[in-house]
């Protein structure tokens, strides 16, 4: 269950949000207006719209958001494991939670002042009501969905980065994400670690990882961000 952070928290938070999230030139004047103490909050901008910035900062914020989502997911799982989780699975999911947290904080550090949420008073809440986190089967299904999506997100976004060192560090993270994904898939269905739904099975790129664009990934994850809508329209596409 997710409360609407922005509607609940009022104009101050809404203005803060717009200031940090509204990176495009087109919204600059509205952002300025929104920051004024005497002007009413502009109504033409959707307060729940999170517009990702252009270029590398936008891409890093996109990957940072996914890391926040994954960390929140595993935190929720480890805080209340399903009763049919084995002891070994609990240890492994504690590891997964730790890895995601390290990744999230690494991305936050890389973003510095560019992190979309630097001025937010509290973290973005995520809505996991589309998942069943009270059973092993439900947790594994959710974990597989998020890990496979994460791998496809890195596969589809690292080439869009301009900064080479950034891509090198993120590739090291992506590799561990692929290990996570295979691990969770094998827990659900032994031997499914690299099935044809996650590895290209024909054509010139046969046997390479499936890749998804930021637009595809954000469309598949939109239910987790509601009521916030994350827009990738300013991100590079080539």
């Amino acid at each position: 269950m997710s409360d609407s952070f922005f509607s609940r928290s009022g104009a101050l938070h809404r203005r803060t949000f717009l200031r940090v999230a509204g990176a495009s030139a087109a919204t600059a004047s509205l952002v300025l207006a929104g920051c004024s103490d005497t002007e009413p909050t502009p109504v033409v901008v959707d307060p729940n719209l999170l517009q990702l910035a252009q270029a590398d900062p936008g891409l890093l914020n996109y990957l940072y958001l996914l890391k926040q989502l994954q960390t929140a997911f595993y935190q929720k799982v480890v805080d209340a494991f399903p009763s049919d989780f084995s002891a070994a699975e609990k240890l492994a999911f504690n590891d997964l939670r730790d890895h995601e947290l390290v990744h999230r904080e690494t991305l936050r550090f890389m973003l510095g002042a560019n992190a979309y949420d630097t001025a937010l008073l509290q973290p973005l809440p995520f809505d996991f009501s589309s998942l069943t986190l009270t059973s092993r089967a439900g947790v594994l299904a959710g974990a597989q969905q998020l890990e496979d999506l994460s791998v496809a997100a890195y596969a589809g976004s690292l080439r869009l980065l301009a900064a080479v060192p950034t891509a090198a560090l993120l590739a090291k993270i992506a590799s561990v994400e692929a290990r996570h994904a295979a691990f969770v898939r094998d827990l659900r269905t032994p031997g499914s670690f690299a099935d044809t739904d996650v590895v290209v099975s024909e054509g010139a790129l046969q046997s390479v990882s499936l890749a998804k664009t930021p637009t595809q990934v954000l469309d598949e994850t939109k239910a987790f961000f509601l009521p916030v809508v994350v827009s990738p329209s300013s991100l590079p596409t080539a």
Binding site: T106, F109, S207
Partner: protein, 296 residues
Amino acid sequence: MNFLSLLDRISSVDAPSDAAPRRDLLRQLGQAGARAAVAALPLALGTPAQAAPANNSFDAVVLLLKLEDLLMDFYTKALAAPVLTNAAQAAVRLDFVRLQQQQQGHARFLRDTLSFAGVTPPPAPSFDFSGRRNNPANPVLFPNVLTDYTAFLQLAQQLEDASASIYLGQLAFLTTDKPLFDAVLRMQLVEARHASHVRTLRRSATPATAVKSWPSTADTAPTAAVLVPSTSSSGATPTSIYTFEANERQISTGTTVVPFPTILTGVNAVQSRAFAEAFDEPLPTLQATALLSIFG
């Protein structure tokens, strides 16, 4: 003589104008190769194994092709050998068929990449997984890998982990060629899935080996370790590939180190071994080349 330097010199005779769109190295090689006398190619191709790789996109593709040829040959031999024809391994046999097929797909892509660039791809070497380098007089470094499932899995894990790391290392030399970078990154991600799966199989095998699905300082160390040259200046002693994986120092940009002890405290505290586990590490070209030459 390095094949690349030869072709580069041929290519420089007729270099593209600065105004032309940037051409990737392989494309330049392709143009050079097309212009070069056909007779020059076999001459050059006879030597690249002896030349030290020069950390460019051509050498990266050749190195990765040898790696994929090695993995494909390893699984092809294992699938025909007692280790995987044994009824006890019937349940996992298809997993290794999949691994073999995906390595084959990668090798095909890399061969095609060289062919499209006008270069005749090198043939697969004759690999020897005992570590005797095709010489019966040499000592066996990896005993029973094609007869004993435990020994097989132990080598498979190290080869797949090394593969993920070698790919990470070579990605650095492909950054100016976006389509090639993209394909190689996506092959790397499949290698990481393979490595994870082999580790999972080791945990569930009889006897079981205590390893996580990601390299961890908590893992049981291999009894027959794949050793590569150490990077320390004084270190004459070869070292396990897992010494690279124990790295806890990540560079965000320039010389800036991500300050884990500072940012991973309080509500963000994690188990200390997670600093290393959360990142797979590249294996440098020198170590990658040495590793491959153990087998062929």
